[in-house]
């Protein structure tokens, strides 16, 4: 499912809104998620999961091709942990 398919699904579910409104709503939600994470703030969506940041310390990296050594600075990377409801709904018996 792509973003535009998600928008189409939501528009069908909420037919009182124009597709443009739904598009705007999806963009607003995704922007807010990204913006909050970039401020170092957690996101907790009950029934879905939580987003947080994990720290990656600085490290020395060697380019295997050139043998060159590069210092990779410390950084944060996004992390998602599925919530209980999502975990249970996805993990039906194989």
């Amino acid at each position: 499912m792509t973003k535009s398919e998600l928008i189409a699904q939501l528009a069908a579910r909420h037919s009182q809104f124009s597709v443009a409104d739904i598009e705007m709503a999806v963009k607003t939600i995704l922007d807010a998620l990204a913006k909050n994470l970039s401020r170092g703030e957690r996101i907790e969506i009950r029934g879905f999961g939580s987003f947080s940041l994990s720290f990656r310390p600085a490290r020395l990296w060697r380019n295997p091709k050139s043998g060159e050594r590069v210092q990779v600075p410390a950084k944060y990377v996004p992390h998602f942990k599925a919530g209980k409801e999502l975990r249970d709904r996805v993990d039906f018996p194989l």
């Binding site: 939501l10 807010a32 990204a34 703030e41 879905f48 996004p78 996805v90 194989l94």
Partner: protein, 103 residues
């Protein structure tokens, strides 16, 4: 440090998109529900500029009860993984946790 919740997202839809509070709450709920439904079906959810959610099948593997040290297998299961897009990665890379960014 604050945590963003569904109520905050609904508030934003009220302010920025002009949905009323009831509708805003419903749309936020449906947004995550549609993603969940797609994942349940085994679909990959690709949200360009944000990241991909994917359902992966993990085989059974050996595990151990951390309390008793007793060995027991961890059963095969389906789990959801999230891969942030390059854009989201570069947005959060320099986050200063605990020191709010001046905007």
């Amino acid at each position: 440090m604050t945590t963003l919740t569904k109520a905050d997202l609904a508030e934003l839809l009220f302010e920025k998109v002009g949905l009323n509070k009831r509708e805003a709450k419903d749309v936020v709920e449906s947004f995550f529900d549609e993603i969940r439904l797609a994942l349940e079906k085994g679909d990959i959810v690709k949200l360009s500029g944000f990241g991909n959610f994917q359902c992966r099948e993990k085989p059974q593997r050996p595990g151990r009860n951390p309390k008793t040290g007793e060995e027991m297998p961890i059963s095969a299961r389906r789990v959801v993984t999230f891969h942030a897009s390059q854009k989201l990665k570069s947005q959060v890379e320099g986050a200063q946790i605990g020191t709010p960014n001046a905007e």
